[in-house]
Symmetry: C2
Subunit: 346 residues, 2 copies
């Protein structure tokens, strides 16, 4: 946000004024949204579909640092991470509710920035903002979003459907968001020492975007339909590949072998990892925030799926007794561990 912009205290509007301001230009896009913002509750209609519901809570200092995350990007990302969970059910998102708690240090212009990102994501993904809550907090910013989507019953993909022999696949590439965060943190440290030095982001636009403006895989459901493939299980990769593989194996009561050399890494992810002397594999396995999809398909789909540029087969499902393992390039078998993000550790 431009620091020279006018800063209007939120107390000038009050809660109801702010809600009016934030909701006045909402256009309903989905026929399933009968009534959006403006009553005690929104009203939806899904006569022929199953409904999926997911929710996330983001807190300042834990999930984001306003020192280097612009508010517009934060608003956009907060929506996208929820939609990603809807796509991970092979469903299509239709509505979101957005609740925020803000301290009085925020101006109206700051809240407008945040909501411009939220509205942009709604526009891009075709979802309706149907309600929420706006209140104050004594300290930082908190954002809570609930996303609602639809699917036909036969389209839904759960975590629990993986079968022995299935191929384990991921969309896109992994570890980029984590390396983007490392980049932001490095430049923030440099800035603290020398506020006049401009941040050095050249050549790292991709990993920066993976961190600051991730996209959810809205194309996946259509792609699978086109290929004639119904995944047997699926989960989105928000906490790092390791913990998502473990979730999927646990829910499906299976084991798996994941091959180190198959894990898709972008060139920038590898380059910046090398610059920081980090193993990029660690970023992929434990980094999180990639919002790609981890899924399984029957082995019969091998010929079709291996041709897909943006899908990588990284392993296969084994019996539960064999455990979930990483097979290193050297051939070692290492049990996968959920070293992902633990927000409750001290």
């Amino acid at each position: 946000m431009n620091r020279n912009m006018k800063q209007t205290p939120l107390s000038e509007l009050g809660e109801f004024g702010l809600i009016r301001r934030l909701t006045e230009n909402i256009q309903i896009k989905n026929t399933s949204t009968l009534k959006g913002v403006g009553d005690d509750a929104a009203v939806l209609s899904y006569p022929d579909k199953k409904i999926v519901v997911t929710t996330d809570l983001l807190t300042e200092g834990i999930h984001f640092n306003l020192m280097y995350v612009p508010l517009k990007h934060l608003g956009y990302k907060a929506v996208v991470v929820n939609l990603s969970d809807v796509y991970a059910m092979n469903a299509t998102p239709r509505q979101i509710t957005v609740s925020i708690a803000i301290s009085s240090k925020f101006s109206l212009e700051a809240v407008d920035e945040l909501y411009s990102g939220i509205h942009l994501a709604c526009e891009k993904y075709g979802v309706d903002l149907i309600g929420g809550d706006t209140t104050s907090s004594l300290t930082g910013l908190t954002i809570s979003i609930t996303a609602i989507g639809e699917a036909n019953e036969e389209e839904l993909v759960y975590r629990s459907g993986a079968k022995v022999g299935d191929l384990v696949c991921v969309s896109g590439d992994l570890g980029g968001a984590y390396m983007g965060l490392q980049l932001l943190e490095r430049e923030n440290e440099v800035f603290k020492v020398n506020p006049n030095q401009q941040p050095q982001f050249e050549g790292y636009d991709y990993i920066l975007e993976r961190q600051l403006k991730p996209e959810a895989r809205s194309d996946f459901k259509e792609l699978m339909k086109t290929l004639g493939i119904q995944p047997t299980s699926m989960i989105d990769i928000s906490d790092g590949l390791s913990s998502e593989v473990l979730h999927l194996c646990q829910a499906s009561k299976v084991g798996c072998n994941i091959y180190e050399e198959k894990i898709p890494l972008d060139k920038q992810t590898k380059e910046f990892a090398e610059e920081l002397s980090i193993n990029p594999l660690v970023a992929a396995l434990n980094g999180g925030e990639d919002y790609e999809l981890l899924f399984t398909v029957p082995i019969a789909c091998f010929e079709v799926i291996k041709k897909e540029f943006d899908i990588t087969i990284i392993g296969h499902i084994t019996a539960e007794s064999e455990g979930a393992n990483l097979i290193t390039t050297g051939g070692s078998v290492i049990p996968l561990q959920a070293q992902g993000w633990n927000p409750l550790k001290e």
Copy 2:
């Protein structure tokens, strides 16, 4: 919570361990809940109904003070205030999601207390806990709840349906929750001065319960059905009667006259208000948190509705040009003002 109880740091369980602990005993009660906790999203099915969705965000220090609100009560109340919004649509709540952000000062036992209140409310109101998010905060406790309910289209009641001549009614009595809060705050001040003095709550059990363990009007929909009355508009009273009347008039594009002497006040509300030299009317108009229902019915329902013990006719709907007014016992006409709770004031 008993301060002598064992205190287990949350870091011992981690996020996934805590989620398992909080969700392991959930029994699904509603046929509309196809899949609850445990995947990227919950799955619901509402083939023959309209769906209502509402959400609230509660933050420590703003909506509750852990100095005098037991965690179990807080969990219970956090659910109830959301269900109240569903009932205010004349719908029946079926599912909730619960997200919490907690600082590391909380123990597992404290979180268990909070969730025991949440589960108790789910049990009492017959709703399923279908998902959520559990994360950490750098500071206080934040609770975000989304409630989902169902209604037939013809049953739904919006804020916008009030017509000139309709009777304005409220369920129960008002101002009690506000006076209960005054009582808690007074005893907290006494405690600060003398920690050995026991709080003086005798004779004020009702207003204390209105504040600490409010109930939503789950009986209302059935009552109206039995009486053969379809309300023309409705809103729940969470921010005080004044601002709710104004919301309803604004949405319906009407005015109203509310009669001071008709506003229902409980004996304890009046007594404690007198003790503190507060006008109990102020508690009813601006106090908030009563979670009663404000609604309008056609004048033809007068004979039926006036016989209902727990319903009070407090005024009537007028033309928009006449404004929303309080008619005092002395006959003065005072425009109602939304002096209710403004969480964003400095």
